[in-house]
């Protein structure tokens, strides 16, 4: 039996955008290792892009995560190979705690992609041209609401010229998990305890020792 968690069903992410379209942004950029010395994720939202956002303790106001025009943005627009590098969940946790609920990028490093799926961030892929289109729109009007629609696998924004939206991609298992709320998967994993025990019994190497 699947355990359904109704308030965790994520079909849409709607919010203003934060444009940061550079390629190959790495996990050390997003969440510098120094802050991983804290034993909890609680304050990670404050440390996102810290080395870029603060120089000699002073905020760099032109950084999209400091720029008041984008304040309160829920959707990050990134480039190719986003969040390459380490497995640190501190990076997506920091983004989440900063307020990010959806990411639109050309592509992701696999571990980061999996971490987003695990904590309920909708991370979708669109083409390079569509990234430029979205960035252009947000820079023109930072109040533009962007919509990630996981049901139709599309991204759109208010007053978009084309009615149909931009096609986006996301691994199908992740999409289903977000839509039906099973991304918060621990209760489901626990419910299969018996079958887990059967696997443990059939693994040859667990009997070798």
């Amino acid at each position: 039996m699947t355990i359904i968690i109704p308030d965790k069903e994520i079909r849409f992410v709607i919010g203003r955008g934060i444009p940061k379209p550079a390629d190959n942004q790495n996990t050390d950029d997003i969440l510098p290792a120094n802050f991983m010395k804290e034993p909890s994720f609680r304050r990670m939202g404050e440390y996102v892009y810290f080395n870029e956002r603060f120089i000699d303790g002073k905020p760099v106001m032109s950084h999209p995560f400091n720029d008041p025009r984008y304040s309160g943005g829920k959707i990050l627009i990134a480039g190719a190979n986003f969040a390459t590098g380490s497995s640190r969940e501190h990076a997506p946790q920091g983004l989440y705690r900063f307020g990010i609920r959806g990411i639109i990028a050309e592509g992701y490093a696999d571990i980061f992609d999996g971490n987003c799926a695990t904590i309920g961030i909708a991370a979708v892929r669109v083409s390079r041209e569509d990234i430029s289109l979205l960035v252009e729109q947000i820079e023109k009007d930072s109040d533009t609401n962007i919509i990630i629609n996981l049901l139709t696998k599309s991204v759109s924004y208010q007053r978009m010229d084309t009615g149909r939206g931009i096609p986006c991609d996301i691994p199908e298992g992740t999409r289903q998990a977000l839509i039906n709320g099973s991304w918060d998967v621990l209760p489901i994993l626990q419910s299969n305890e018996e079958r887990v025990g059967e696997v443990a019994l059939r693994l040859p190497y667990l009997r070798f020792r």
Binding site: A22, D29, P32, M36, P39, N51, G173, Q176
Partner: protein, 462 residues
Amino acid sequence: MSKNTLKDKVLDLHTVCRLEDGRRQVFAGVHLVHEVTSAPAFDMLRELGLRVKYPELTYAVCDHVIPTDNSCRPFQDPQAEVLTKTLEDNVREFGINYFGPGKGQGVCHVVFSEQGLILPGMVAVCGDSHTSTYGAFGAFAFGFGTTQVSHVLATQTFAMDKELKVRRIDFNGRLEKGVVSKDTALDMIRKLGAKGGNGFAYEFGGSVVNGMEMEARMTLCNMAPEGGAKSGYINPDGETYNYLAGRRFTPSDISKAIKFWDSIGSNNDAVYDDRREIDVSNLEPMITWGTSSEQAIMVHERMPAVEDYSGKAREEVEKAYLYMGLKPGEKIYGTPVDIIFIGSCTNGRISDLRQASRILKGRKVKVRTLVVPGSESVKGEAEAEGLDKIFLEAGAEWRNPGCSMCLAMNPDKLKPGERCASTSNRNFENRQGKGGRTHLMSPYSAAAAAITGRIVDPGEYL
């Protein structure tokens, strides 16, 4: 999709079921934890009132924040002390096996490998991207985040977010003197790109890999994530079994195990999603010049011209040159360095230290040189062979095991503008300390840089 590869066979063996969303629930045959990414995971367990389901399948070390010069407790850095103490409390409370100081401590991927904990055919996971190292044993191994660490602690299983494709990469030809596994890894990454492996597991093979010793294979698999591949592995063979025989956690009746291990490698009729061949015959020692692992060249080559790139790629290359303080089109050979780091989960094993010692023996270092063994066992072995004396007589620092200058989470950090010849795995901006400049290379190359104070060809000193 791939068929009958080691990845497919191992994953099928460990699949509990398909969840309703289509994802696999996968059993973790062995689970490794370190202090940094496990702390919030144990907290999640505590919050939910859960115990560790299979404590005998999880093993822990402290490595990232531990100082390697003075390990007296409490540590001078209060945050490091708290994180270490948190791990110690967690392993005690939850009944986890812990390789603490005096009990085999060291860099996680060095310790768990040498203890014989990783066996062919396992699914091995850890909250650390370089978990791919264990692929050298013919395990399907990869890193993931802290929430999944908590899932494995609570259930010994996790949900696989997507199925990886398999790219078979054959390394053929003959390696020149002074050219080693690290060089082949950097060569592969520059050819296939730092994001070339996204969506793939890399299966390494070919005559060069077949001829590699286990520790060289670990270096290659360790670097797979730097090429974008979450996992890298090598089919197990006689070299694997010889390495495993007699280690602390290796099965005592190895013959029974070998029957299974022999069956788990990719079949002859395996289907791959992609195949590549890399000829290493004319490969020189590889050095990274930029801030991505793909920004690597052979030691006698010139750094690329900015004009070779366009658009966003050009901006990135220009940014890398600015950060690194280097000029396009110039030679990397002869670039002065300020500090040398020999160690890490990539190159902190005994064979790496032996390589460094061959060049340092009877010579003096020109710049500050840190030699950091990957584990207490590596340290003991090196000292029994007298390598510590070679390093100390050369003027290098001989440290205690830990991650040290790989990642700026302990006292060993670069200062702004300092240039480091490093055997670690990442050359991102600020990786080794804010404003620090990293050149990735092999232990031979790093040792040659130590005695000359410059990036040079280690072949000249062998």
